[in-house]
């Protein structure tokens, strides 16, 4: 039971607010896939989710699930499950009754409910916890129950609003793995909202970056880091450390480092972006290799943070912790074309 979601030209402005929360947001989530909406707080991502869930109404645009507009449907008639940042387990019910809640609302018979609840408690690795009160569970366990509860009715769409942000980092990793596993089993089309880029790239097959209520980029996780489309996206993803001004022409970028070969649609003045991790240090020949002098080396334990200058430009890069580099060393740097992108300054 999988369903695709289409979000078309969605606008939203809070009553009395001067600036809109969402501006013509369009987004396609194919059936059975996982899309993360990644953005800083205040980017409008939670509002977007709340509109898809039916808990807020947009000021314009449309949300279609399986081809039909759902905007006129109240939340309880939309075929979805939602997990919020807080587990929000019903305090007066047992764990099993919480998981069964959606099924009971749909009038599922008792035997079927019992089977499904047992199945889900197994799936979230909490078998035998059914008779407990939610207050007896830890935060991570509560959130697992919240996931099980949302999935119990086999919703076509699963919506997650920062579901793991309140958990400690160790637990977060486990939860991501669990979510991926549950998705494989249950197959609900998943829309996931987060401010944590690791979470987004870990769980989702496609990431939509939302900045100031606009879709800034929509791409598979790897592309997002390799080819940010704007400086703002690069900054948000922590990849604006190397921004070198120059001029783009078909297949080339001319800058103080020389003429670099790359593939870009940008024309004219622009900024060349390359992530510190993508720069390769060593004696090499060929295209996009530039001579450089190491100016600073900081040992971070797991890697070295290095600063180098070339043609008057300071480049930031990282290497493995054992690289034999010292300040003052001359070396050459390779800037792989597939990791270069040009954005508007």
């Amino acid at each position: 039971m999988t369903t695709d979601i289409t979000i078309a030209d969605l606008d939203h402005t809070y009553p009395g607010a001067t600036t809109p929360t969402l501006r013509r947001v369009s987004l396609e989530v194919p059936a059975g896939t996982r899309t993360a909406v990644l953005g800083p707080s205040g980017s409008g991502k939670s509002t977007l989710l709340s509109i898809v869930a039916g808990l807020s109404a947009p000021t314009g645009g449309d949300v279609r699930v399986a081809g039909h507009s759902v905007l006129r449907q109240p939340p309880h008639r939309r075929d979805l499950g939602v997990v919020f940042q807080r587990p929000l387990l019903f305090p007066h019910l047992t764990v099993a009754e919480n998981v069964a809640f959606g099924l009971r609302m749909r009038g599922t018979d008792r035997a079927a409910i019992r089977r499904r609840v047992a199945e889900l408690l197994d799936a979230v690795a909490l078998p035998g916890y059914g008779e407990r009160r939610s207050s007896e569970l830890s935060g991570g366990q509560q959130q697992r129950i919240a996931l099980a509860r949302a999935l119990a009715v086999r919703p076509g769409v699963l919506l997650l609003d920062e579901p793991f942000s309140a958990l400690d980092p160790q637990l977060r990793g486990d939860m991501r793995a669990l979510l991926t596993e549950l998705h494989r089993r249950e197959g609900s089309t998943t829309l996931f909202v987060t401010h944590d880029r690791d979470e987004a790239t870990d769980v989702a097959d496609t990431v939509t970056v939302l900045l100031d209520g606009r879709v800034a980029q929509h791409a598979p996780p790897a592309d997002l880091f390799r080819r940010p489309t704007t400086l703002a996206v690069a900054r948000f993803l922590g990849g604006a450390g190397n921004a070198i001004p120059g001029t783009a022409s078909p297949g080339h970028f001319d800058c103080p480092l020389g003429r670099l070969r790359l593939d870009t649609d940008h024309r004219g003045a622009g900024l060349l972006l390359i992530r510190p991790e993508a720069i390769v240090v060593g004696d090499q020949q060929g295209d996009n290799v530039v001579p450089a002098t190491i100016t600073a080396v900081t040992d971070r334990g797991t890697h070295l943070d290095i600063q180098a200058t070339s043609g008057g430009v300071t480049l930031h890069l990282t290497t493995g912790p054992a690289a034999p580099l010292r300040p003052g060393d001359g070396t050459s740097l390779w800037l792989p074309p597939t990791h270069l992108s040009v954005v508007a300054p």
Partner: protein, 312 residues
């Protein structure tokens, strides 16, 4: 989305009192003192007596006026300055409960009016309390002040005004009129109380229920209502008691046609001069408040949600 935080987990932590060990350590260690200290901690006599004294005095202050009543109801001869009645008798009760008396009828009237007021005030109070606690209403402070008005405004002024209005509206001299007249005060109390209870219920839970397939009403019934139950019981009890003990509004709006227990009590006290019968009726009037207060106290003790707006 704006979500009010849950009000759970905020129980006050009891302060650790210095126990016996602390007292012993504080004093110089001497053999005699150690032997003595093996029993109870030594406290100044004044401190030891303070607590029971306060309890007894408070008890006398509250229950004191009721005690002579309890004696008076069972005697027909008790004259000043005797500390104790000369003779016991059940004449007062015979008169209060006898065929001439209208006590049973008055109790029935009081209970019907009280039940109607309690039911209506609780429902209205629960709805208004939800709005007050969950929504950012414009002029919320003003609304809360208006709700306190029945407490602040002299009841006589309200009753006089109400009489004129109810007479014109043709609602005077009827049970419905009395219920309607008592309702504002009872609703105000119920609303204040319920807004405190609602403040302890997380609005996000109902939203979560909506996403799980519950309609708006069902989400309320399945998720919020179970958490309100104790508060609703207390609100209903309060509303009932406000109605039960009302004299002025019932007298003026009921116009002598609607006779409740307080009206009968006053009529008996003023008209007959029969002290034993008056005392017996007074005891009947006092019983439900005492009973309900005891029940309410149990309800209140068992809850950790903020009541009466405290701890919001």
């Amino acid at each position: 989305m704006t979500e009010a935080g849950p009000a759970t987990g905020s129980r006050p932590v009891r302060e650790a009192r210095p126990g016996r060990g602390a007292v012993q350590e504080a004093g110089p260690v001497a053999g005699a003192q150690l032997v003595q200290g093996a029993g109870r901690p030594r406290r100044p006599l004044g401190a030891a007596l303070a607590r029971p004294t306060v309890l007894i005095l408070t008890g006398l202050w509250v229950a004191g006026p009721l005690l002579p009543l309890a004696v008076q109801a069972f005697t027909d001869q008790w004259f000043y300055p005797d500390l104790w009645p000369a003779r016991w008798s059940l004449v007062g009760w015979e008169q209060a409960l006898g065929p001439q008396s209208r006590l049973a009828e008055a109790v029935a009237t009081s209970i019907s009016i009280g039940a109607a007021v309690a039911a209506l005030a609780t429902v209205l109070g629960a709805a208004a309390g939800r709005a007050l606690a969950w929504h950012r209403l414009p002029g919320r402070r003003l609304i809360e002040l208006v709700l306190l008005a029945p407490v602040l405004v002299p009841p006589f002024a309200v009753a006089m005004g109400a009489q004129i209005v109810y007479l014109r509206a043709g609602l005077a001299d009827s049970l419905a009129g009395v219920v309607l007249a008592q309702l504002p005060a009872a609703t105000a109390y119920a609303t204040l109380l319920m807004s405190g209870v609602w403040a302890g219920v997380d609005p996000a839970l109902e939203r979560q229920a909506r996403t799980l397939g519950a309609g708006a009403w069902r989400a309320f019934r399945e998720v919020s209502l179970p958490q309100l139950r104790g508060g609703l019981v207390v609100a209903a009890m309060f509303a009932f008691l406000i109605s039960w003990s009302d004299y002025l509004l019932t007298l003026l709006i009921g116009g002598g046609v609607v006779t409740t227990v307080p009206l009968l009590l006053f009529a008996t006290a003023a008209g007959s001069g029969n002290q034993a019968a008056t005392a017996a009726i007074a005891l009947v009037a006092v019983a439900p408040p005492l009973l309900l207060t005891a029940l309410a106290a149990r309800q209140l003790a068992g809850r950790d949600t903020a009541l009466l707006g405290v701890g919001r």
